[in-house]
Amino acid sequence: MTPPSERPLTAMIDPAAGPPDCTAYEHNGGWQATRKALSSLAPAEIIDMVTRSKLRGRGGAGFGTGQKWSFVPKEPATDRRKYLIANADEMEPGTFKDRWLLEGNPLQLIEGMILAAYGVQARHGIVFLRGEYDLARTRLHRAIGEARQQGWLGENILGSGFSFDIHVHSSAGRYICGEETALLTALEGRRATPRSKPPFPQTGGLWGAPSVVNNVETLCNLPHIIANGPEWFAGLGLGEDGGTKIYGVSGRVAKPGAWELPIGTPLRQIIEEHAGGMRAGYRLRALLPGGASTAFLDADAIDVAMDYGSVEKAGSRLGTGMAIILDDRTCPIGMIRNLEHFFAQESCGWCTPCRDGLPWVERLLDAIEDGTGQEEDMDQLGRHARMLGAPGRTFCAHAPGAMAPLASGLKLFAADFAAHIQQGRCPQREGARP
């Protein structure tokens, strides 16, 4: 038997050839995990294997996947409705990994969902797909149809007595729908506002039933954990986390893109080797390591290992693992202004600090960037960063996420803020607003 791939998530992805069909998927090792699970593993064993694999959620928050499932009530699915939901909303600016997985190998996600559903004994699966992902929708529908036809989905899968099917919900574009409780509200056909916890989704989720929400990349790891064992998976990581991670880089690098690498790969290796370093004429100034809602890291931090603990120690978050590069010819104030425009626009408006605070931040940044900012504006920005940045003051993590680039930017780019205010203009026109 060939040894399992060191890049399991993307081994079968070939953009030129398109996604594998059921036969090709099986030929390359697909469905092994489902056969194994349904014939010889108890649901509790699945949860235990995933816990031992050290897999942490790839949607941004990084919660231990096995641990999260362990909160789901244990009665079998026939007793009560339970839901397993794939979070394919992916609207965090700078993040484009789930799209790659969905378009490249939808059967891998389907198999991951079957395994997760078997682990928590859910009968109903839903892919919450962002509305703009047209190609992903087409391919996912085709893959689900094929899997159903071949008996991998539906009643009594492989004669095991376990039944599970998947429905695709196409959303209509709203960042907050990616927040797991807002996602449930959206599925219930309401304005997608987050819910207070408890109850946690695992006990009181969609229509009040136990529900598990997992990111696409998280779920895609499961077939490999079950087929090759948790120890193998844990061993793929370079540090304390298990598995590989899809890392990406965008901005002025030579070759922007995404790559599957061992989790814990140093940022320098990702940027210099895989992304080809900076474009000629540009220098790395700072970066957001894991998408728009993470804190800036200075160029000095480039040797940080990209795992949850190390990035946190460096003062930011691994987030989605998709780095956005700030180069030396782009105005950092303009970049922060762009980020806060996004967060202000995408606030769901449920709680006042976020609904009113974020547009205020945006206006202050507008003024500073346009050269009409005042010294006092800096105090206001600092106060917002402190008040909105602390968790627990708002219903969900949208506002703290929005404040991460601002709070870190206020420190890192203090001189740029001061120059804008003193000179009454952006000293660095290129890359800024024309």
């Binding site: 700078g94 574009g173 728009a292």
Partner: protein, 163 residues
């Protein structure tokens, strides 16, 4: 005639009822039903919104609350083609502002508006997950990356010629 002021065609009403029947509660099909209407008519008129609300057993205002929440549901008419230019961070860094200015000049509209010949509506959109090919945009659901003024000009000419 099939217009936004006439009732929904019967097969579409049936399709919406079938969507609702798949859900635990009919309102769970709200977004899917509105998307169906929009795919056919280009946008969701108040006449159609009211009809869908009745089919789902919701009040029209309740459903409108959902419809107006989402970036991709249009409650006002749009042109024959919709260009959605990403305005999020990676595209901003890679020059989406000058590109947007170019588009506005060329089409003689501002973002949010439709050209006089009703051919093209220009809307901003948040990150569409194509940041490695920034600046990126969607044109009627089709993804375009590494967009520059030359490809843009060419695209607009083609769009103007296609119904």
């Amino acid at each position: 005639m099939l217009t936004v002021e006439n009732p929904l065609p019967v097969p579409m009403r049936r399709e919406i009822l079938a969507l609702a029947a798949q859900e635990l509660h009919p309102r769970g099909a709200g977004v899917a039903a509105l998307r169906l209407v929009q795919a056919r008519f280009g946008w969701v008129s108040t006449t159609h919104l009211r009809e869908v609300a009745v089919l789902l057993g919701m009040s029209a205002d309740d459903l409108d609350g959902v419809a107006t929440y989402f970036n991709l549901l249009f409650r006002r008419p749009v042109g024959r083609h919709v260009i959605m230019l990403c305005d999020s961070v990676s595209c901003w860094i890679m020059g989406r502002e000058p590109l947007c200015a170019h588009l506005c000049r060329k089409l003689n509209i501002r973002p949010g508006e439709t050209t006089a010949d009703n051919a093209i509506t220009l809307l901003p959109t948040v990150c569409i997950g194509h940041c490695d090919h920034a600046p990126a945009m969607l044109v009627d659901n089709t993804l375009h990356g590494d967009v520059d003024t030359t490809t843009l000009d060419h695209l607009i000419d083609t769009l103007r010629d296609t119904p």
